[in-house]
Amino acid sequence: MSIEHRDDTGARFGMWLFLYTEVILFSGLFILYAMALAKYPAEFSDASHKLNIYFGSINTLVLLTSSLTIALAVSAIQMGRIKQTLILCWITIALALVFLINKYFEWSAEISHGIYPGSEQLAEMGPGITTFFNLYYFTAGLHGLHVFIGGTLIGVVAVMTAKGKVTSDRYTLLENSALYWHLVDLVWIFLFPLYYLLYH
């Protein structure tokens, strides 16, 4: 027999704690970034210009919008509007897909130019630029993985909502998935200017 105990605030607090660990996880890469930027400022802005700002900006818009839709989904379920909740969830997932597809094209373009971790061409561009792109791939890769996980999570919650397992008075699961999704957005908010927008 399991002891049924319900503590929504506790569950949210636990989620926040988990998000802290995610932030620290990413911060390892940001530390490396900060140190390398201090060492190679010029190379970094050169390298930054090799990234396609349009891809970056579009993805920023996509993620900000998805953050909005999932936040709306939480309000919707609180007000008992299940149908709207579902629509908003699916929009969020669609935006996650758009983000990943966008990323796929961006990376394919870069890889076809011979820029990827460990490539010879990258090595020839010199130390600072190599570091920039290594970090870019690893950070964006880790972020992409989070987009994927977050999208899946929201998908699961949407299905559960449709089945009536997540309801207007039992929606912690949706709330926590939304929190996770916002984290994905937060990381991108920093990633975007640091990698795409360094001045020349």
Partner: protein, 540 residues
């Protein structure tokens, strides 16, 4: 138990029968027992490797294994002892067993997550063992995985690093669970000022687990990525910086040493009042020094890097902060000792281990001061003095605290008592052997013998032989201790609720505790944790 001699509490009460009742159980006590079993098993494996290291070092040159095997042996010994034994030992095993009961709760906040964390632990441990026997051979990087060596060696570093990553994830989940539990599930009347000190140390530890562990995660992932892609993030020729790896590594691994010692300090803070029959001296000082250690402990990581080529300014700051962390530890030692003053002291086995803890930890900690000072660390860094230091604090501190906890709470969780005389013999051998082994290691380190040396110059022979001999005495002591505990658990005399006359909540429930801990009614607490007035020990 008075009502029935066959009462077995949570050992029998389970929604599912048999082995699945354990493997799928979300009961914190069962998970704690599963953790304890695995941790002790892995400790024995690690200890046997330690014995092998000592045997190899009994004479210069090759004695029982070649250099490659030796390097793999101390690496695996270190990885097992740190990631699989000491970090989860007290928090995951005894924390799970006790935390909910001590705060008057039925379980932790996220029981399913708790089980998941155990599975992460098991998967990590299994992967680590696979890493030893597959691929390019057992990892040979040292437990510190320093680049560039770790990105170049052809041994099975990837899998070992991934295993450590999983173990870290398990530790994070435990941390999240404990912080939330302590905030949300205290029973009525259990104010912050009434928390047992063990809970305070678990709380401080859990925050370190949450905020520091992800750093080792990303660091190890980067080592793996480096090995797979050859990207050159830490390669100077390609703009990387090998010293940055060390920063990332120690940002976690220094706070980790406090994950290893803080819960141990909590255990000692429970045992000393019980056997002195006096409230712990300086409750708030003890509570806040735990938080202080946890916080200040995250400011000192680069004291492992004075000789690394780091800037001298960083040496200045980190050396200063290192000494600051020593202060809360000193406060704890003084408070424990003054608790004894005018007490009524009983030298039961848990108390012996607790006093040995204080002695060993003082030696190890004071040795830490010699390492914290910049000039003396230059000589001592990466010598056997460091090896001596960390065995003193980790084994003499963390390990002894675990043994103290096992002797203290075994009656509670099995309802049976071990043989006290045998326990004292085991303790004495362990204590003497321990000090002979590691005191000698400190001496040979001061004389200049580097660590991670498969072979050494003849002038270090005598001391190494003494250390090896000491390790045998210690091994014998451990063997006696484990056998005694095992026999006590299976066939010892039955005990009642409160064999020691202790005061925290777990001693008010039957031994072993029932599945729901407190039955139908949640407990209500009306006094502080160490109020011995009117508490009498059950006869056994």
């Amino acid at each position: 138990m008075s009502e029935s001699t066959t009462y077995t509490g949570f050992w029998q009460e389970s929604p599912r029968p048999g082995i699945l009742g354990w493997l799928l159980s979300t009961d914190h006590k069962r998970i704690g027992i599963m953790y304890l079993t695995c941790i002790i098993s892995l400790f024995i494996v690690g200890a046997i490797l330690g014995l092998a290291i000592r045997l190899e070092l009994i004479a210069p040159g090759e004695t029982i294994m070649g250099a490659q095997t030796y390097n793999a042996t101390f690496t695996v010994h270190g990885i097992i002892m740190i990631f699989m034994f000491l970090i989860p030992s007290i928090p995951a095993a005894f924390g799970n067993l006790l935390l909910p009961i001590q705060i008057g709760a039925r379980d932790v906040s996220f029981p399913k997550l708790n089980l998941l964390s155990w599975y992460c632990y098991i998967v990590g441990a299994i992967l680590a063992i696979i890493a030893i026997f597959s691929g390019g051979g057992a990892p040979d990087t040292g437990w510190t995985f320093y680049v560039p060596f770790s990105t170049q060696t052809t041994t099975n570093v990837n899998l070992a690093a991934f295993a450590a990553f999983m173990l870290g994830f398990s530790s994070i989940l435990t941390g999240i669970n404990f912080v939330t539990t302590i905030h949300r599930l205290r029973c009525e009347g259990m104010t912050w000022g009434r928390l047992p000190l063990f809970v305070w140390t678990l709380y401080a530890t859990a925050w370190i687990q949450v905020l520091a562990t992800p750093m080792i995660g990303i660091t190890l992932v980067l080592v793996i990525l480096e090995r797979v892609f050859g990207a050159g993030l830490f390669d100077a020729a390609r703009g990387g910086d090998p010293i940055l790896f060390q920063h990332l590594f120690w940002i976690y691994s220094h706070p980790a040493v406090y994950i290893m010692i803080l819960p141990g300090m909590g255990v000692i803070s429970e045992i000393i009042p019980t056997f002195a029959r006096k409230p712990l001296f300086g409750y708030w000082a003890m509570a806040f020094s735990s938080l202080g250690i946890a916080f200040a402990g995250s400011l000192v990581w680069a004291h492992h890097m004075y000789a690394s080529g780091m800037s001298d300014f960083a040496v200045l700051i980190f050396s200063f902060l290192t000494f600051i962390v020593a202060i809360p530890s000193a406060i704890k030692v003084f408070n424990w000792i003054s608790t004894l003053y005018k007490g009524s002291i009983e030298m039961a086995p848990p108390m012996l281990y607790a006093l040995a803890f204080i002695f060993n930890f003082a030696i190890g900690g004071l040795g830490g001061l010699a390492l914290g000072a910049a000039a003396s660390d230059i000589h001592l860094h990466d010598t056997y003095f460091v090896v001596g230091h960390f065995h003193y604090v980790m084994f003499g501190g963390g390990g002894f605290a675990l043994f103290a906890a096992m002797h203290y709470w075994l009656p509670k969780f099995t309802g049976r008592m071990y043989n006290h005389k045998v326990a004292v013999i085991g303790w004495a051998l362990l204590f003497v052997g321990f000090n002979v082994t590691y005191m000698t290691m400190q001496a040979v380190g001061v004389a200049g013998m580097p660590r991670r040396y498969y072979d050494y110059l003849p002038e270090f022979t005598t001391l190494n032989q003494v250390a090896t001999a000491g390790s045998w005495v210690m091994g014998l002591g451990l063997l006696i201790m484990f056998v005694n505990l095992w026999r006590g658990m299976c066939s010892g005399r039955r005990v009642g609720k409160n064999p020691w006359g202790a005061t925290t909540l777990e001693w008010e429930v039957p031994s072993p505790p029932p599945l729901e801990n407190f039955g139908e009614e949640d407990p209500v607490v009306t006094k502080g944790p160490y109020n011995f007035k009117g508490v009498v020990a059950d006869e056994y």
